[in-house]
Symmetry: C2
Subunit: 97 residues, 2 copies
DNA sequence: ATTTTTAACTTTGAAACACAAAGTCCTTTT
DNA sequence: AAAAGGACTTTGTGTTTCAAAGTTAAAAAT
């Protein structure tokens, strides 16, 4: 089975798959946009985000925009690399044998 | 997010992804081959298989080959269809936005 | 004729995960 | 002063994952 062992458990959840695929093409995405784009609840997004952060697959930036706090996310180099591997695994799996 | 909502929870596990992708290109695959190809334990394969069977995504055939019992699996039409939708979702997700 | 092996499970149990709802905290708008 | 917004954390419940061990029935080996 080509690719099967390249699959990363961290990306098996559709939510984390969504987060990473957004962060692969967008450099910084804020909390609210992420939540709305994926249609998640606050708690749900927060927990998936924190698990990706713990793995150092994404980084979190907190700042004030105007007077409001804003949290944004970006994929780290490691995150992009691991996600690419996962995608490659998927593609091989689906094309292969 | 293109594709995100086309993702099927049933295929989020790498094991079930593996099973389905094998059954998409091979008509009937037996228990032992499936287990070895994916490197799974007995119990693990059995449980994933039974969850896919419950959803009617795969069908199970039991017969004797020579003197030995043999269980084989194939994807149903529904299974192939749903899996295709999932794959399409994945592709859109990964290419899109 | 026993013992061992093979095939295919089922059961068990512990850990991880998913997710909504509710609560928190701090700030800003009204 | 009250309400609302942003970003969480906590809680609780239900589901999933997976290996290990146990089960059954037949076949092969001794």
């Amino acid at each position: 089975m080509q690719g099967f062992n390249q699959l990363n458990k961290a990306f098996e959840s559709r939510v984390r798959l969504g987060i990473m695929s957004i962060l692969l093409v967008n450099d910084w995405v804020n909390y609210t946009d992420m939540k709305d784009t994926l249609g998640l609840t606050d708690g749900n997004l927060a927990s998936h985000v924190s698990s990706l952060e713990k793995l150092e697959y994404i980084q979190v930036r907190k700042e004030f925009v105007g007077k409001k706090p804003q949290t944004s996310y970006a994929a780290t180099q490691l995150g992009k690399l691991e996600f690419q591997k996962h995608i490659d695994g998927l593609e091989r799996l689906l094309k292969g044998s």
